[in-house]
Amino acid sequence: MTLMKSLMGAAAAVALSAGAALADPALIFDLGGKFDKSFNEAAYNGAQRWVEETGGEYLEIELKSDAQREQALRRFAERGANPIITMGFAMTSTIENVAPDYPDTKFVNIDGWADLPNVQTISFAEHEGSYLAGVMAAEASKSGTVSFIGGMDIPLIRKFACGYAQGVKSVNPDATVVSNMTGTTPDAWNDPVKGSELAKAQISQGSDVVFAAAGGTGVGVLQTAADEGVLSIGVDSNQNHLHPGKVLTSMMKRVDVAVYNALKDGADLETGFQNLDLAADGVGVAIDEHNEALVTDEMKASVEAARAAIVAGDVVVHDYTSDDSCPALSF
């Protein structure tokens, strides 16, 4: 009950000092739960880093149902939590409802698009990071066939797949990109067995680099790729260490950094839109001691060139969600 006590204390302190920013921040995890090995866990890691560095405390909840979204937001806001950090696009419409009622509370919406004076909206250029992963995949592939495994078939995942396919085609226009989605229920984010089966099916179609953007399902994909002797690409966090020498790279989405920064700025954080793209290092490909041997100098050069071109604006990676279509891949 320490959380409860500190919360009560904080609420009382706020009441006494008439609105001084003393309240704890709050973090709302989306339906996947905080240990999803991916998006929510990255947020958790960012928050833990902040806890270790500052000794601060934060309130948290893992949502279990859509109806809890508004409830959690309002209850945290009423108890004086500030800022309130929310994960995922599904929170956007709830924030649009709730945030105007609490003008002194700052809300952070990661992956959202709410446009309000007390909301900080953080989005990531997943298509640009995936493009770089695609460039590496095409360079590493010997068969000319690479593949993609998504979690659920939702626009966000198509954005990953579309950027990846564009990257592949930029190196080898004749390459084949095989794309599959794991399932149609939220279980698809945490189904390593199905991920493994899909990876096997794709390998039998000739794929020798498999990119998984499927949360916990990706663990099964990476395992199977390693067992079958082909390369894989991890997602969100740096997953290179899972199978050293067998994971080509990881498409990193620095949710942890975003959460850490929001907690560090506290109630003073700047509201408005923040797009964390390649230029801002919000996305990128991981190269470390675990995959050094796989990354040739040529590959490094092409990735660097592609990165520079995107940052400079010479190459524009098409964003699937901008018009619901993809030039390089059909769904």
């Binding site: 109806a67 508004e70 409830q71 696009f89 078939d153 939702i154 626009p155 969600t321 619901d324």
Partner: protein, 364 residues
């Protein structure tokens, strides 16, 4: 002669089962180092202590009311409908299509027509497993659960490719027009001077659910069709001997069951979210099984059980908000309630029957 009085069967046994479940939950909470009394206090306070809490409790209860009734109706015919999840999903789809594409002058007409759309889609989704069961003997448990997955796939496809507004990241429909949004309990109770929380999701469909309870009660016990349904459930051979067509009865029962599940969409899709999102049903179809089991397939029992599960859901959410009790433990508590009230029924029933028999002997 009855082994024990009716009140013991209907009230005493469920209450004892609940107390046992609560006791074991308390031990589990103690084991992870939290105070069970404080937890119970938080749950009661959070779910019943304010109109806001009541609003959420009743909102969840309304969902379970529809799915619980659906399972109960099917159970009277000896059919185990575990496809409530898929039927409710399709109900949401039918409702969303009606609400998005037909302009309505007033919410009451919208509710009527959208409810019809939801019921039709839900019934249609139940019709195929029903036909396969009635004509081919494919077991309804297998087919309905498979249809849950197909429903999820259909919904996913429709939302991502057809119903999603262009350029939106979220696989959900746009918001329904103003005239298709239902009044909340706040709007209904304000004119008669009762102050009810504005932000809670309970809405007018609660009364639709209660009306559905009454209709189901009348249908099962006071119509010829209800008699046929119960006869089939007790003994198929007997029903055939009495001139009841099993094919026809199975079809009609499942259509009613599916329509009830579909109607749930008026609460969660039309009343709460006001748009159709992926995974809108959130397991209410499965909770309906527990609710029907606990309510002994009687509409009034279903009503009480739905409120209880609404309380567990909302109280559980409050626990997750304000304590370190992990949300998985709330699932454990719910599971214990289902286990004791449903599966382990005889464990409580037999000793109590013995006590009553012994008492009767003494009196005689």
């Amino acid at each position: 002669m009855e082994k024990m009085p009716k009140w013991a069967d209907v009230v005493l046994i469920p209450v004892i089962s609940l107390l046992l479940a609560a006791l074991i939950s308390a031990i589990v909470i103690l084991l992870i180092g939290e105070s069970p009394i404080e937890a119970l206090d938080l749950m009661v306070e959070g779910a019943l202590g304010s109109t806001n809490g009541w609003g959420y409790t009743l909102y969840y209860a309304t969902n379970f009311l529809f799915t619980g009734l659906a399972v109960a109706v099917a159970a009277h015919a000896g059919l185990f409908n575990i496809g409530g999840e898929g039927q409710a999903m399709l109900g949401g789809l039918g409702l969303a299509i009606v609400c998005l594409y037909i302009p309505f002058p007033h919410w009451s007409i919208a509710l009527l027509v959208a409810g019809l759309g939801a019921g039709l889609f839900g019934a249609a989704w139940a019709a195929i497993p029903a036909y396969l069961q009635a004509k081919r003997g494919s077991h309804i448990v297998i087919t309905t659960i498979m249809f849950n997955f197909i429903a999820a796939a259909v919904l996913n496809y429709m939302l991502v490719n057809t119903l999603k507004p262009k350029g939106s990241m979220e696989p959900a429909t746009g918001r329904f027009p103003e005239s298709a949004q239902l009044p909340s309990l706040h709007d209904i109770l304000a004119p008669i001077g009762i102050e009810f929380s504005k932000s809670s999701p309970a809405n007018v469909t609660l009364f639709v659910g209660i009306a559905a309870c009454v209709v189901v009660w009348g249908l099962i016990w006071h119509t010829p069709l209800g008699h046929e349904i119960r006869a089939l459930g007790k003994s198929e051979r007997g029903a055939v001997y009495a001139g009841i067509s099993p094919v026809r009865t199975v079809m009609i029962t499942m259509l009613i069951s599916g329509a009830l599940c579909g109607l749930m969409a008026t609460n969660n899709v039309m009343g709460e979210a006001e748009r159709l999102v992926l995974n809108a049903t959130e397991g209410a179809g499965f909770i309906g099984i527990a609710v029907a089991l606990m309510g002994r397939n009687h509409p009034f029992g279903v009503f009480l059980a739905a409120i209880l599960f609404g309380f567990l859901y909302q109280g559980g959410a409050e626990l997750a908000l304000w304590t370190n009790i992990p949300s998985e433990l709330i699932v454990v508590i719910q599971a214990l309630v289902i286990l004791f009230t449903g599966a382990l029924d005889n464990m409580v029933r037999m000793p109590i029957e013995k006590i009553f028999l012994a008492l009767r002997k003494e009196n005689a």
